[in-house]
């Protein structure tokens, strides 16, 4: 074995220092440009950060694929949901007339909307697939008000960076960054395949984020909160998913 020379030691040391400071600068830049996901500190957070950062750099404005009417699945699969309880049944019996979607947090005017009000907004229909992280998928036509329209109505403050959204099922809550929140295909979904959104598929109101997997598409949507930080929501990992061991970002 050859002896390690002083020159080699110095160059290695310099390279290591340059590498470490390069990483530190990269981390700072990534944070500045919103490329670090809220669950970056978990066990596999490094890989998750790379995935989220790469997808944000490559796909920030890209549109989810849309399909033709003939490609709509004849037998979509609703997946199982936990029992919704008596209060939900009561709301259902009156045609969800009392269902409200409240919007709060970093907005000029905290507001709550009825389903009728949401239906009166400009509507968007799109034929997209929804895929579960397990591997299965189906295609349907989804319609509703773009989230960006509602965020504009309530006067979203410029410092808002995430939208936290909650379900009637209190243990299911998620959040997305503004790239997805303001994306034209992100819709507050009220209809499916030309009819009302069936309960099994999340009716009366479901968040559809077609560039992310099924679990980001929260069913029975009740509340939106705009925030500049996810630290004080739950365990601070961004949503219920990382608390249950699943990645916050589900674009893959």
């Amino acid at each position: 074995m050859s002896k390690i020379s002083r020159r080699k030691l110095i160059t290695t040391g310099l390279a290591a220092t340059a590498g470490a400071s390069g990483l530190a600068v990269a981390a700072k830049l990534a944070r500045h440009y919103g490329l670090v996901p809220p669950d970056s500190g978990v066990l596999y957070g490094a890989g998750e950060t790379l995935t989220y950062a790469a997808q944000r750099l490559l796909t920030r404005h890209s549109m989810a694929r849309e399909f033709s009417r003939s490609q709509i699945s004849e037998k979509p699969f609703a997946n199982e949901v936990a029992p919704l309880g008596d209060e939900f049944k009561r709301l259902q019996q009156v045609g969800f007339a009392e269902w409200r979607l409240s919007v709060d947090g970093m907005v000029a005017q905290p507001t709550s909307f009825s389903l009728a009000e949401l239906r009166s907004f400009p509507s968007r229909s799109q034929i997209t697939f929804i895929a579960c992280e397990e591997g299965w998928s189906y295609i349907a036509e989804w319609s509703g008000a773009p989230l960006s329209h509602v965020l504009g109505l309530v006067g979203t403050l410029p410092q808002a960076r995430y939208v936290v959204y909650r379900s009637f099922q209190s243990d299911w809550w998620e959040s997305i960054d503004m790239a997805d929140a303001l994306h034209p295909q992100t819709i507050l979904t009220l209809g499916m395949n030309g009819g009302e959104l069936p309960i099994g598929f999340g009716g009366p109101l479901r968040m559809r984020v077609p560039r992310q997997l099924g679990y980001k598409n929260v069913k029975y949507l009740t509340r939106l909160t705009l925030t500049d930080s996810l630290k004080h929501f739950g365990k601070g990992l961004g949503s219920a998913s990382p608390e249950g061991g699943y990645a916050w970002y589900a674009g893959i």
Partner: protein, 258 residues
């Protein structure tokens, strides 16, 4: 014998032999050794987590979509980690998808970075040209037939082959590096809803998202088959000697072993 002749044709046999004798020239370059074990590590992580993700829906489809309400292309006769999947088994396996998905993608990043490093090295150092491209004398059906026949007789490789790859090995490694690995990365990315939106034709040419998932499965089977054959061939040649060469870079000759 054949391999010895190839060294002559390559014109550097004398230099190579001298360097070998002096212990200056390693059997495997340091970069090849490091990337080999990084890929090994990430491959095992991808395999274990891939199996875990797979058992949450052990059904495969062709085309864009597929779920328990549609006819599968085929299904694996194994239990599932989800009770919504009809498997015929009376029990459900524990859900491991959370950490499996996290680790699958982290290991994929390690594999991709390692692969890029290996590719850059392979092209610029001449590793691919010198060690993986079949030698001119072997670029014929006859050369291939000789190598196949020797494999079929399970012949132990000659002493010269401890320093080089035979033609069948070269073709196999080229196939793994330039066909299987790119294909498994491509089909994996074709399942990402965000990537699909940005590169829709990358999914379309595969026949759809579920087709991509099915191809991903078959390519992983091919890679596992390669792994088995690879370990078998290494064992045939002397397992610890070859593993040692891939760690230290030095190939022990018969004389050294006595």
């Amino acid at each position: 014998m054949g391999t010895g002749a190839n060294w002559e044709i390559a014109g550097n046999a004398g230099v190579a032999a001298r360097e070998r004798a002096d212990g200056l020239r390693p059997r495997h370059a340091a970069l090849v050794r490091v990337t080999h074990w990084l890929i090994t590590l990430s491959f095992f992580a991808l395999l274990v987590t891939g199996v875990e993700i797979l058992i949450s829906h052990p059904r495969f489809y062709w085309g864009e979509i597929g779920n328990v309400n549609t006819q599968p292309l085929f299904k694996l006769p194994i239990p599932s980690s989800r009770d919504m999947v009809p498997t015929g088994y009376g029990y459900v396996l524990p859900d491991q998808n959370g950490w499996s998905r996290y680790l699958h993608f982290e290991a994929a990043w390690v594999a991709v970075f390692t692969g890029l490093l290996y590719l850059a090295f392979g092209f610029f150092s001449g590793h691919f040209r010198r060690n993986l491209l079949p030698a001119p004398s072997d670029r014929s059906l006859k050369g291939l037939a000789i190598s196949v026949a020797r494999h079929l007789r399970f012949e132990r490789p000659s002493e010269e082959e401890a320093w080089s790859y035979n033609v069948l090995q070269r073709l196999t490694y080229l196939f793994v590096v330039f066909v299987l690995f790119p294909l498994i990365i491509w089909t994996g990315l074709a399942m990402s809803p965000a990537i699909e939106g940005a590169f829709p034709s990358a999914v379309a040419v595969l026949g759809g998202r579920q087709s991509a998932r099915t191809i991903h499965f078959f390519v992983s089977i091919a890679l596992v088959l390669f792994l088995f054959v690879h370990i078998f061939m290494v064992s045939l040649a002397g397992f610890w000697k070859r593993v040692g060469a891939m760690i230290t870079g030095r190939a022990a000759t018969k004389k050294e072993r006595v």
